[in-house]
Symmetry: C2
Subunit: 125 residues, 2 copies
């Protein structure tokens, strides 16, 4: 029987705010977390199919070690998911607020070059 790979994760109460913020301070990792929030558990390879394997592992390890993501082996695959409930318990609203800000920033980039001359007629904002 082959040994099962195991991954070390911090306990929820040991998740550190500066480390979570650092994990989310890198555009590639921020995009990974957005994807995990949207899609649930995925094969980690899907988070960076075009990345060198060592780069992908660097980022997924950092997400795991900071308490942002949960990683488990499934055969030869490495499945990864967002620790959404643990993060919510530890820092209520944090990940949602950050991902909302990220969504706004991405939407702004998509519209870059177009000036917003009027407020949204639907919401008046």
């Amino acid at each position: 029987m082959a040994a099962v790979r195991t991954y070390v994760h911090p306990e929820t109460e040991d998740i550190s705010l500066p480390r979570v913020l650092f994990a989310l301070s890198e555009p590639l990792r921020l995009e990974m977390v957005r994807k995990l929030a949207e899609e649930g558990e995925v094969d980690s390879i899907e988070l960076g199919p075009d990345l060198p394997r060592s780069t992908l592992t660097h980022h997924t390890s950092l997400l795991r070690e900071s308490g942002v993501a949960f990683v488990r082996a499934e055969g030869r695959k490495c499945m990864i998911s967002l620790r959404a409930e643990d993060l919510e318990a530890r820092f209520p609203g944090l990940v949602g607020t950050i991902l909302a800000g990220y969504g706004r920033a991405r939407a702004g980039e998509r519209h870059e070059g177009r000036h917003a001359e009027s407020a949204d007629p639907e919401t008046g904002r």
Copy 2:
């Protein structure tokens, strides 16, 4: 007349989420931002009276360049404040949520070693 020192700041719409998160991912800077949120504009020296001047300048410059803080010269002093409204406009709720999480983490550290055996009788949580 002496030249007035001026400081470069990003425009509100150019404030980048990863850079803000990076600025807040360092415990010393997180504490500086907490202080600024609480006290308003202060002489930057008050953010780190015991720090080497170069260390203090490194951190205040990073807060300014990331769009988190506004810095202005006043005589020989360097006054610093949180860009609370700009940050709120760009990333609604972000700084408040992070500082709330920071407050919770700090409170947890103060009570470290004491086990929370019962829920809060007021809220049942």
